[in-house]
């Protein structure tokens, strides 16, 4: 314990922030990119560019594909294409908990080349692609972020006096601290909201006492009751014929008073199979969780969920606020920019720690605790952007027919990040790590539209602008904007290194 309350809070802010800072940076980068996960999904499927998704979703094709893959699956799911992502997505949930996913051409039902897509970043930000364990790790990081935010507010004595203060020319620790304070204080409402709602989404997993007491630990039954979802026992008899899902869409839309977004068939090989439809979450802040259920053998209407209670609506509101499916592209851009501010807050916060101890790091060398923090800063903050760009490049360069193409893209992401992190940590000894990684990222970013032009005749910037597919064009344009930003950072990094060396020599 420290001598005073403020000192204790400063200690808490420093260590709660530093311990999970790198992880939070990964979560924030993933979450920020996931604001446009569907647009990135669409960009990463060039086979569908230039096509238009049918107005009424056709789910039968997706179910037919699922049947060829896993006729005895636990459930088949399909997501209709939308203006954000035109692919018809088919999912198969197997009894062992694994899932098979495939994007289909919404006009023909034919599978298109696989990709990790923007969904890769979405999954990365909530479970690090590590399933339940990853979800708990991310949850812990979110909770520590809330602790660090509250402690940060308490120790910031000049919060109002320094509200607009940013002194980048002051250099070193002062400049990093100002950057950290400005993005932290001005972005505080967003940071608090996103950390709190992010943790709240998985509240049933983090605070399971109530479910253990009332439902004997049966999470599925809890959610089923909370959302009034329909489920019926398997009979063990085979299903003779699956009723057409497409013929039920109009009735489902009439009952829900909303467009159908997804369809599912639970235990599709059993005579008790149930067809369910749900709608989109983009019309209001809370998720619209209503569902209608039909008998899969004859299409008979079975059940419609009742309007949610206050508790479930509150939960849906918090989840909806986090996932920003409402508000259109304007709000997604606002979240994206605030997410970037969050990344800057985290990166500058970790650099404050390093800048404050620059002398000690120089004395202790790279092979010390101080050196490790410095190296991890470069490896994570400098390496991850390069890995993200490499995913986009891999999407265009890997052969379309490659088996497990999505997995190969993810492998490229991880491999590039490992190499970049190793390089950055090694070069941090000479102070060149930041500048070199930023320069490499800038070059890789410039390469994206160039590779796009040379490999995808229907997907390059001129083609997408010509067809008025502005969401696709925006990906290339944003990549170029980021290229300029990283080139600028690389130049700043070179100058900063010279200044720091001079400071250390004088000191």
């Amino acid at each position: 314990m420290k001598n005073s309350f403020l000192q204790s809070m400063a200690w808490l802010h420093t260590w709660a922030g530093l311990l999970v800072g790198w992880l939070l940076f990964v979560i924030f980068v993933g979450g920020t990119l996931a604001c446009f996960d569907k647009e990135l999904d669409d960009w990463m499927r060039p086979a569908l560019h230039g096509t238009v998704a049918p107005e009424r979703p056709g789910f039968d094709a997706a179910m037919a594909w699922a049947k060829t893959q896993a006729p005895d699956a636990h459930a088949w799911w399909a997501h209709a294409g939308s203006e954000r992502d035109r692919a018809l997505k088919a999912y198969i949930a197997l009894d062992d908990g694994t899932e098979i996913t495939r994007a289909l051409d919404p006009r023909t039902g034919v599978a298109v080349p696989d990709t990790a897509g923007g969904s890769f970043f979405f999954t990365l930000h909530y479970n690090l692609h590590a399933g339940t364990i990853g979800m708990y790790i991310v949850g812990l990081a979110g909770m520590l972020m809330l602790v660090a935010l509250v402690a940060g507010v308490l120790i910031h004595k000049r919060v109002f006096k320094d509200f607009f203060t940013f002194r980048p020319k002051a250099g070193g620790q002062r400049a990093w601290l100002d950057g950290h304070n400005v993005t932290g204080v001005l972005g505080l409402p967003f940071h608090l909201m996103v950390a709190y709602t992010g943790v709240a989404i998985f509240v049933a997993n983090y605070m399971f006492g109530g479910i253990n007491a009332a439902y004997g630990g049966d999470f599925q039954r809890f959610w089923q009751e909370a959302g009034d979802y329909y489920e019926r026992e398997e009979t063990g008899q085979p299903l003779q014929r699956l009723h057409s899902l497409d013929s039920l869409v109009a009735d489902a839309e009439r009952r829900m008073r909303a467009p159908v977004d997804w369809a599912s068939v639970h235990h599709p090989s059993d005579s008790s199979a149930v067809i369910q439809f749900g709608t989109r979450h983009d019309r209001a802040v809370p998720w619209d969780m209503q569902q209608v259920s039909y008998d899969a053998s004859d299409g008979r209407f079975l059940h419609q969920t009742r309007p949610p209670g206050a508790g479930y609506t509150t939960y849906s509101f918090l989840g909806g606020m986090h996932m920003v499916q409402f508000g259109g592209s304007t709000l997604r851009w606002l979240y994206f920019l605030m997410g970037l501010a969050g990344c800057v807050m985290l990166a500058s916060g970790m650099q404050v720690w390093v800048a404050k101890r620059a002398k000690r790091i120089a004395e202790a060398g790279a092979l010390s605790g101080y050196g490790l923090v410095q190296g991890l800063n470069i490896g994570v903050v400098g390496g991850m952007p390069l890995a993200c760009v490499s995913l986009l490049l891999a999407n265009r360069l890997l052969p379309a027919q490659l088996a497990d193409r999505a997995g190969a893209e993810a492998t490229v992401f991880c491999a590039v990040w490992l190499v970049a992190a190793g390089w950055g940590m090694w070069r941090s000894r000479s102070g060149r790590g930041w500048a070199e990684l930023f320069a490499a990222t800038a070059v890789a970013l410039v390469a994206v539209p160039v590779v796009n032009l040379s490999t995808s005749p229907r997907s390059h910037l001129l083609a997408t602008l010509g067809r008025g597919e502005y969401a696709l064009a925006a990906v290339d344009l944003m990549v170029l904007a980021f290229a300029m930003a990283f080139a600028w950072l690389a130049l700043r990094g070179r100058r900063g290194r010279t200044a720091m060396q001079l400071q250390l020599q004088e000191g």
């Binding site: 002194r167 001005l186 209001a284 304007t330 920019l337």
Partner: protein, 105 residues
């Protein structure tokens, strides 16, 4: 929504003008004593009016979220202008407000 953004863009410079710390960079001389509290009051009023504009355009729940997001980002824009273009920051912010009104209306 354009009105809400424009009002937020105008409100932040008023708060900065009310702070003695920023007055040398933004103005030729310090403001007379009764002016800063008045500027602060008008700033709060504009932020409130901005919330009202967003709530009118987008409804109470979505409007509040749009408003919060706009406040964060317009404040960051203001800090960047204040840092890199201090003498033209107020004019630039008013210009951005005008652009928001014309382009987004």
């Amino acid at each position: 929504m354009a009105v809400g953004i424009a009002l937020a863009l105008v409100a932040w410079p008023l708060f900065a003008l009310a702070m003695r710390k920023h007055q040398p960079a933004l103005l030729v001389r310090e403001l007379p004593r009764p002016v800063p509290p008045l500027l602060r009051l008008v700033g709060w009023g504009l932020l409130g009016a901005s919330l009202f504009a967003f709530a009118t355009a987008k409804g109470a729940s979505q409007g509040t979220i749009f408003w919060g997001a706009t406040l964060v980002l317009t404040a960051i824009v203001w800090v960047l202008l204040l840092t890199f273009l201090p003498h033209r920051a107020v004019t630039a912010m008013l210009g951005l407000g005008l652009v928001a009104l014309v382009v987004l209306q």
